[in-house]
């Protein structure tokens, strides 16, 4: 069953167009972000502790410059004190300065708290202050470290759970979901989007938290030191926020364009390189190059704009920071000379204003990143919210381990309510019989076997296996009664043994060898250097397509099911392998009720029952001879095939 067939059935979903519709959906930032945060609930103790630690560490680092400013004051005081006569008081010194007409300097000296005339810098006091600061910084670093560790655990655990939820969800989704969704698009959700969430959470959460807290803390201290200077510093903040917002809005658009153009270039390169030979032989190299140059130029324009505009944030924020610096230096300087504030406070202020603009810029760019993460989260939530398969019955019927009697009773089914496929179908296949399903592409052959496996649920009617309605069994119980060999020879990463025994620990070596011998697997496996322990690599390139098919047959053989479903592949395997496949399938079918989607005449003619399908329904049933005699659709199909090759039949 290929995905191509799936798209054929659902014409509304045409590959990339379907995907576009999905991605164009508008973003619901608030609720999705809350839901993402909500997923951290199991980690809430850690999360709260993280916030508390972050507050503490930010408080420590915010306090730092203020105390350091005190150190500057101590030095400043020492500087003045040295030049004043010992034994005099600060008031005397100030008065002396005023007497000399040096009013301003008098103001400055008057504001100094730690001034002791005649004494230089009080290194004892300085050491005390610096020691406190040092201790504060060390504690802040430790708290920040602990916070980082905790947050890391919160985020990774949340992601662990999210991935596990998605995986479990995949197991509960109806197959229809996979048919409707372009496979690349679904894979992108479960891989790229989850990666993106994880990355943006990891990067943003810690920085966003510290940035916001730092802004708040710094603002508080600034107001405390000098409301006037804080006001001055604050004037530049809205300017910065507005500028950043304007730039980000513009650059966001340019980034979207840049990625869209990257996609366009990528699509063209992919086509030109994948169809390399065709482009050449059809003489289209020049056109391909022209299209490439055109798209490449557009990509250049878009990415240049994106980079330039977003590159402006940094210098502009630096500019605003510098502006702040200048204003504070001037206003602060003037205030110091008027004695309203100490020099140390001005110096602390300069540091604070630096600390202020930086986290703001940081928070802005984090919000940007977070937007992308939330967009991805939204896509993952969509998947998590998709409707699931109906649950298994609470009191499931036990499958009667019988002979393999299958009955369809007035079943109706459609993939899409608007286009009914099977409307009223009844049939019985008796134990041990082989039913060959034939008909043109799109006639619903695969649908029929999908219904037996309960990959899809019926709209009406019922299917019974040995008298038990399959809808009343647990899906797992039903499926373990049925062996299936599909067209796509899906093997998973692991050894050949793992792939054949398929995780069943109860299989003995002898049982496995019986299966592999009967299905001609044993022979080729023994030619491999590692035998049954050969690891099937990523592309499965170390074994051929035919061998892969044999492996899947062996897998079904080992299961020893009552009922068998086979899809005869028409892939191009070489003739010797083809012969082996024939024999293997035949030995698998022996004494088992089998449904075969048949492509080979031998299978069809040997079948006990031919189900001739067209347009989703069975148009004829019977064996080969009776259907030929009836001269209906099957006879026409048969004739079409044999008229084309009458000599071949004679040659046989």
């Amino acid at each position: 069953m290929s995905d191509m067939k799936a798209t054929e059935r659902v014409p509304a979903q045409r590959g990339p167009f379907g995907a576009q519709m999905v991605t164009q959906k508008s973003m619901n930032f608030g609720p999705s972000a809350r839901r993402l945060i909500g997923r951290m609930r199991p980690q809430r103790v850690r999360a709260l502790l993280t916030v508390a630690l972050a507050c503490f560490s930010v408080a420590c680092s915010v306090a730092g410059p203020k105390i350091l400013g005190h150190a500057t004051d101590l030095i400043f005081a020492g500087l003045f004190g040295r030049n004043l006569p010992a034994g005099s008081t600060q008031e005397q010194a100030v008065a002396g300065l005023r007497a000399r007409g040096d009013d301003r300097l008098a103001d400055v000296v008057g504001a100094l708290k730690d001034l002791v005339p005649g004494q230089g810098v009080d290194f004892g006091a300085l050491a005390g202050v610096l020691g406190i600061v040092l201790a504060l910084y060390v504690v802040a670093a430790l708290a920040s470290l602990a916070q980082g560790y905790l947050l890391n655990t919160v985020v990774t655990s949340t992601m662990l759970q999210l991935r596990a939820d998605v995986e479990e969800k995949v197991n509960r989704l109806p197959l229809l979901y996979f048919d409707r969704q372009p496979r690349g698009e679904l894979l992108s959700r479960v891989t790229n989007d989850i990666d993106n969430i994880s990355q943006s959470l990891q990067q943003t959460m810690s920085q966003l938290l510290t940035s916001v807290l730092t802004v708040a803390g710094v603002l508080g201290v600034m107001v405390w030191i000098s409301p006037l200077l804080a006001l001055v510093a604050l004037i530049t903040v809205p300017l910065g926020i507005v500028l950043t917002a304007v730039i980000m809005k513009r650059s966001q658009g340019q980034f979207v364009r840049q990625w869209r153009q990257t996609g366009a270039v990528n699509a063209h390169v992919e086509e030109a390189f994948t169809g390399h030979a065709l482009v050449k032989v059809f003489g289209r190299t020049r056109e391909a190059e022209e299209i490439f140059d055109e798209r490449n130029e557009q990509l250049f324009e878009a990415s240049f704009r994106a980079q330039f505009i977003s590159g402006l944030i940094q210098p502009l924020m630096m500019f605003i920071g510098n502006l702040n610096y200048v204003v504070i230096a001037v206003v602060g300087g003037l205030r110091v000379t008027s004695g309203a504030i100490s020099l140390g406070d001005v110096q602390a202020f300069i540091q604070y204003s630096r600390q202020f603009t930086q986290p703001l810029t940081q928070a802005a760019s984090m919000v940007n990143l977070l937007q992308s993460g939330v967009a991805s989260a939204e896509r993952v939530f969509e998947l998590l919210d998709a409707e699931e398969e109906p649950a298994d019955p609470v009191h499931p019927a036990q499958p009667a381990r019988g002979l393999g009697l299958v009955a369809f009773e007035h079943i109706a089914f459609s993939y899409d309510p608007e286009t009914p496929l099977i409307e009223d179908l009844s049939l019985v296949v008796r134990p041990g019989q082989t039913a060959a399903i034939v008909g043109p592409t799109g006639a619903g052959k695969t649908t029929l076997v999908n219904l037996i496996m309960r990959f899809y649920d019926l709209d009406a009617g019922r299917i019974t296996l040995d008298g038990v309605d399959i809808a009343t069994m647990r899906r797992a119980d039903l499926r373990s009664q049925v062996g299936m060999v599909l067209q796509d020879t899906w093997l998973f990463e692991g050894t050949i043994r793992d792939n054949i025994t398929y995780g069943r620990a109860d299989v003995t070596e002898e049982q496995m060898l019986t299966a592999t011998r009967a299905t001609f697997v044993d022979h080729f496996v023994r030619t491999l250097p590692d035998g049954y322990d050969t690891v099937i690599d990523e592309e499965g390139s170390n074994i051929s397509a035919g061998q892969r098919q044999l492996l899947t047959i062996a897998r079904a053989f080992l299961l020893d099911p009552a009922l068998l479903i086979l899809d005869e592949a028409t892939s191009s395997v070489d003739t010797r392998t083809e012969l082996l496949l024939q024999h293997a399938m035949r030995s698998l079918r022996a004494n088992r009720t089998s449904f075969v989607i048949a492509h080979r005449l031998s299978t069809i003619r040997d079948a006990d029952l031919i189900l001739m399908m067209d347009g989703g329904t069975i148009v004829e049933t019977g064996d080969h001879a009776s259907l030929i005699a009836a001269g209906g659709a099957y006879a026409a199909l048969y004739a079409a095939q044999f008229n084309a090759e009458p000599e071949e039949e004679a040659a046989a």
């Binding site: 290929s2 592409t441 028409t570 083809e578 024939q582």
Partner: protein
């Protein structure tokens, strides 16, 4: 490789880059001048109580700030232009190089790998140039400038710089070095988680049919846990980074105040210089951080540069003739004369001593097990590969002497993997003949047994085709690929197992319809099914690269053991008689 790639492709931008460096230099100097002016405000303004001086110096600071922003913005402008232009140029070179390569090199690289090299890899190097032009240029200027200015303020404290800078660099590098292998491992584990999930989704029917869900969940759970383990470890190192760096910054500040305080007390340093020194030290440390983070990008970019250079350094094994033959008596007679072909570096030839003549109006078919060299043989005709020995002639002219465009115009190729380009049914059909009328297109579709399903699409000829043709079924794709070759009306048709996805009846109808259309053309068919090739005028049986039989179906059936074996196996398959 990285250096070579950068040097070669940045050459056209060297003037602009010079300008960027000059602008960044001025801008950084301006930024560095600010603390010095601030020191003046303190020393000459505040200490002396000169408000006029404070205001004047403030105005000067404002001017310097304006110069600084003007320089940085202009530098970002030209830097981005250079970096993005660099990316565009490299992409251009790669694309041209790849279109010039032969099928041999493209197969050797693999199309997906070439695509990644042409886009993602370039992106990585381009990013390095972008950051280099905007940030990395600044870092050394800022560092040297910062050191000079700091020394100007006070030489006595300069030993602090010599301690702090290496300490910061050492800590940063130490942590980053722990993180890089972690990131690498994490990428591997992410790939593994993605792979397990991918396997589950692509194999969903098998998983469900065999009730494998619990095992799959366990397998996924293990991969998920392994990823989380490494994410926790790397995340911890990352969490260590910020506090460590901050601590070093802050300890440096404390150091400056302590040792600076002594110098101020001793009268060998002014108080304003102390404040300025602190600012400079911060700037120096910032630039060290910037440089360290940038250098982390270099290993990755250099891997990408290697991959890019590898493509740019590859020459096509198929070179156009120096003096091409530009006209042909176009009949389409094709001759192989003692042709052998060996892949570069392979010990065994894929084809050996192949000689045959395919005449116009005749069908020549090739059959043989996989790996017999059938596809390679067809690919020698349009020179997707060149022969290792012998000659392939079209109308008597060695294909290596022919003008490539002329050669290609005589050939209609339907490859094994029917590949369609994104666009519409029409744009695909027009691929070989852009001025074909709708009537011609419908006629080709009719022959290719594609008329019915195209007509059934609501948009008909304008029905959209997804990239690769993934929105139509395998059989439909093959029929459209055949129609595409038919529209071109070439002298030589090459069908490389082009009927494999068709059911037997469609296959038969198609070949019957093909007969009158290709009446005057030379047709080469590679087939797996005996039914597909049995009507050919000449069947050539290949085994391990050699011709082991030739003749009609009847002749071979009577005389050729390999052919008999093939027929027998298929008759068992298709005829249970």
């Amino acid at each position: 490789m990285l250096v070579r790639l950068l040097r070669a492709n940045l050459r056209p931008y060297r003037r602009v880059l010079g300008l960027v460096v000059a602008l960044q230099f001025v801008g950084t100097l301006a930024a560095l001048y600010l603390p010095s002016l601030n020191a003046d405000i303190i020393d000459d303004g505040v200490v002396k109580g000169d408000t006029g001086y404070i205001v004047r110096t403030g105005a000067l600071m404002l001017g310097v700030t304006l110069i600084q922003i003007a320089c940085s913005i202009t530098a970002v402008y030209f830097g981005s232009r250079t970096a993005m232009g660099f990316g565009r140029d490299v992409r251009h070179h790669i694309f041209r190089r790849v279109t010039g390569l032969s099928g041999h090199e493209v197969t050797a690289f693999g199309a997906p790998s070439l695509i990644t090299r042409n886009t993602n890899d370039v992106q990585q190097v381009q990013m390095l140039v972008q950051l280099g032009a905007t940030l990395l240029v600044v870092a050394p200027i800022m560092m040297v400038g910062g050191i000079v200015m700091a020394l100007r303020e006070d030489v006595g404290l300069s030993w602090l710089i010599a301690v702090c800078v290496p300490a910061l660099a050492a800590v940063a590098i130490l942590i980053i070095r722990q993180m890089i292998p972690g990131f690498r491992l994490m990428q591997k584990r992410i790939d593994r988680v993605n792979r397990v999930l991918r396997e589950q989704i692509t194999g969903i029917r098998v998983v469900r049919a065999f009730v494998r869900e619990p095992q799959e969940t366990a397998r996924f759970g293990q991969a998920n846990q392994e990823l989380t383990d490494v994410a926790v470890t790397t995340g911890r190192w990352m969490a260590t980074m910020f506090p460590s760096v901050m601590l070093i910054f802050n300890v440096s500040l404390v150091g400056v105040l302590w040792f600076g305080g002594h110098r101020v007390d001793a009268g060998s340093m002014q108080i304003g210089a102390l404040t300025a020194f602190m600012s400079y030290l911060m700037q120096i440390l910032m630039s060290v951080m910037m440089a360290t983070f940038m250098l982390v990008m270099v290993p990755r970019a250099s891997v990408c540069a290697d991959r890019i250079s590898e493509v740019l350094d590859t020459d096509s094994s198929v070179t156009p003739p120096a003096a091409p033959v530009t006209s042909l008596t176009r009949h389409g007679e094709l001759a192989f004369e003692d042709v052998s072909f060996t892949y570069a570096g392979a010990p065994e030839p894929v084809l050996q001593d192949i000689s045959f003549v395919a005449k116009p109006g005749e069908t020549t078919a090739f059959i043989g097990s996989t790996g017999a060299g059938k596809t390679t043989l067809l690919n020698l005709v349009p020179r997707l590969f060149d022969v290792s020995a012998g000659v392939v002639r079209v109308d008597g002219v060695d294909v290596r002497e022919l003008e490539p465009e002329l050669l290609w115009s005589t050939i209609g190729l339907v490859p094994q993997q029917a590949y369609l380009f994104s666009g519409t049914v029409r744009s695909n059909l027009l691929y070989g003949k852009q001025d074909a009328t709708d009537a011609e297109l419908w006629a080709a579709l009719e022959t290719a047994q594609a008329r019915d399903f195209v007509a059934a699409m609501p948009e008909g000829l304008d029905a959209p085709i997804a990239q690769g043709g993934t929105n139509v079924s395998g059989g439909q794709r093959q029929r459209l690929a055949i129609a595409r070759a038919l529209v071109k009306r070439p002298e030589i048709y090459l069908f490389d197992d082009s009927f494999s996805a068709l059911d037997v009846a469609t296959d038969a109808r198609l070949r019957r319809a093909l007969r009158p259309v290709t009446r005057h053309a030379t047709v080469l068919i590679v087939g797996q099914r005996v039914a597909t090739i049995r009507d050919a005028d000449q069947i050539i049986v290949l085994d391990e690269g050699r011709i082991v039989g030739r003749g009609t179906h009847a002749q071979l059936l009577a005389t050729n053991a390999t052919y008999q074996e093939i027929v027998e196996s298929q008759l068992t398959a298709e005829e249970a008689a």
